[in-house]
């Protein structure tokens, strides 16, 4: 099994470093451009949410992203010490079928993650959010 760890701070500028790391790992693991795109997107959406809404102080926090490649699946774990947030409890945005004027975009990021991944699990453990995403690959 292949395993990679990425740690970033809760700062949007860290997304650049995150993206570079993910692309490097995608190459190393020979992931298809499509899987790599979806991996980038799912991680960006979750991590952005954590950075924007996870903390109510101005302190530095570490967000851990662990990637595992096992047989025909990719497992991603995103771990943060922010406020409890279970994306699975977030409902599908209502606006998906709405006309332009009524559209807002809240919740779309999480909606992408749910659509692009095959399984999502959430666990709150010792004041940490542990979100596990599973993506099947061929």
């Amino acid at each position: 099994m292949n395993k990679k760890d990425i740690s970033i701070e809760n700062n949007i500028s860290e997304l650049n470093k995150l993206q570079l790391e993910i692309n490097k790992i995608s190459k190393e693991w020979n992931l298809s451009p499509k899987i790599s795109f979806n991996l980038n997107l799912a991680i960006e959406e979750i991590v952005t949410n954590i950075i924007f809404y996870g903390f109510d102080d101005d302190l530095k926090h570490i967000i851990n992203i662990k990637l595992f490649l096992e047989h025909n699946k990719l497992k991603i774990q995103i771990i943060d010490e922010g406020m409890e947030f279970n994306p699975l409890e977030k409902e599908t945005p209502e606006h998906i079928d709405k006309p332009l004027e009524e559209r807002d975009i809240g919740g779309l990021g999480i909606y992408f993650v749910k659509n692009l991944m095959d399984r999502i699990e959430f666990k709150r453990d010792k004041n940490k959010n542990i979100l596990t995403l599973i993506k099947k690959i061929n």
Partner: protein
């Protein structure tokens, strides 16, 4: 992300290159607002070289669409890469944006 601007007929074409995400959506937002300020009416966003978009990027495109439509202008997209097309379909954006296969088709919009 790189934004290359050019003029063709009554359109301003913005060629986007690279990634449109949470770290840089502000650059496109600024550009769109600047074109509104200049009273430009018709915009083509050419995505041929855009490799990646996240919900932050979509938010700005939606803002542009709303603002230009409010002015009775055009805000159209063309040359979407396959992965981005899929994101547009999942979000339902395919049905609210005018999306063309090529810049030439978009110019006839």
């Amino acid at each position: 992300m790189e934004i290359i601007e050019k003029k063709a007929d009554s359109f301003v074409i913005l060629n986007l290159k690279g990634r449109l995400d949470t770290t840089n959506y502000g650059e496109l937002e600024k550009k769109i607002l600047e074109l509104l300020e200049k009273k430009e009416n018709n915009i083509i966003i050419d995505c041929e070289k855009l490799d990646y978009i996240s919900s932050s990027g979509l938010r700005i495109l939606l803002m542009g669409l709303k603002k230009f439509k409010a002015n009775k202008g055009k805000f159209v997209l063309c040359n979407l890469q396959e992965n981005i097309k899929e994101i547009f379909e999942i979000s339902g954006f395919s049905s609210i944006f005018d999306i063309y296969e090529s810049q030439n088709e978009a110019l006839k919009a």
